[in-house]
Symmetry: C2
């Protein structure tokens, strides 16, 4: 973790510990610089990161303010993709249904930008939130990048292992989502009825060098899935 990332994490913790609310003003730059004993450029980078993450917003000439979503029980749709710390508020567990090395289908090969005779790790899991089914997940990992996986890893956070175990840098992702009706198999795994609503999300994850390494297909239990997304002005 770089210095500015560390400071950003500390500022986030400060907001948390002091239960600061939406619109509360943070100390001015000079105070933050003194408090964390860092340069102006470092503190600026920390604040920019926190702004991107939706933790603060900056008003030119006016200051830095806390930005918080106010609803309990909502999962961050974007962070959830990487299974991040903020999910620790929830008790998430995984049951591995299937894990094997196989050849990709055409669709998977195209997504991962590999040949049909290369290998992928195929993993099928049911994930639970507070004891209820959250989603059915099928993931395809490019085996030449994610060189090793096993059931124990897959029953925990695969992304944590990819970052910490394999030392890879996760860069960006493309998500495609739509709403549809559950088919029989999905309904069975989620404990719902065929024809009930589902949120279906396909995601293609890339390393920072642009290589796609994971193509995942997730079917969410609509009864357990409340998501929030914070956006910044570049999207609006």
């Amino acid at each position: 973790m770089l210095k500015y990332q560390q400071i950003a994490a500390e500022i986030e913790k400060y907001i948390e510990d002091n239960a600061l609310q939406q619109g509360d003003k943070l100390p001015v730059l000079e105070t933050l610089m003194a408090q964390f004993e860092v340069s102006k450029s470092t503190i600026t980078k920390s604040l920019d990161l926190l702004e991107k993450k939706g933790v603060v917003f900056q008003v030119r000439g006016s200051g830095i303010f806390v930005r918080r979503h106010k609803r309990k029980g909502y999962i961050s749709l974007l962070s959830n993709q990487g299974f991040k710390e903020n999910l620790e508020d929830f008790n998430i567990t995984s049951e591995v249904i299937e894990l094997e090395v196989r050849k990709p289908t055409k669709e998977v090969a195209l997504a991962l930008n590999i040949e049909l005779n290369e290998d992928v790790y195929y993993i099928k899991r049911v994930r639970y939130i507070n004891g209820q089914t959250l989603c059915l997940e099928e993931s395809f990992y490019n085996k030449s990048i994610i060189t090793y996986l096993n059931k124990e890893i897959a029953s925990e956070s695969i992304f944590y292992y990819i970052r910490e175990g394999l030392g890879l840098k996760v860069g960006f992702s493309d998500m495609y989502l739509h709403v549809d009706k559950l088919n029989e198999e999905e309904a069975k795994y989620l404990g719902l009825k065929k024809g009930e609503p589902k949120l279906y999300v396909e995601t293609l994850f890339h390393l920072t060098n642009g290589q796609p390494f994971d193509f995942s297909k997730v079917t969410y239990n609509y009864e357990q899935s409340q998501f929030f997304i914070q956006t910044n002005s570049q999207f609006l």
Copy 2:
């Protein structure tokens, strides 16, 4: 539009015009600086903006590469909120069902951070995509910020009017989404059956100064709603 935003738009157009693909490399910084006759700091800001928007990705020591989502027919969920240019690929029209000034409910007052005796513009619209129902939208605008609206404005892009007509700066938004079953009224407006799936999205839009100005509730027709979201590493 600031210089760096203008250059960013030109680079985006260059990628479009030359039909560059995912992973294609852009010219090096020096070439871009010369081509657009701008300083290094301007071109850097332009590229940072394009990276945030998901148009390019930068690999340290290696270059700037094109980032594109590959699927046709998907709407950008984040841009869609602001009803942006990339929706021009689709033919979107609106039918205004209701437009009036009223007092907010407790829920709306809380969201917009106003008192119960203040005024909001209430707008109910059905939006169509390529002639099919896309969504049913109910929006509540803080009238002390959005001082004037009428049916003609509401049948076009309200956000375009807010930016260009009222000169306001849209800053950030919080979206809450879940999947559920259509109730009778929603089904009627969308031309679907009660109990069929829906994607339901509540969004609270803020100005750059942090003031919430629009609280909207949108129910999407699941048959017409295919969304994509591009994320960057800060979320992963």
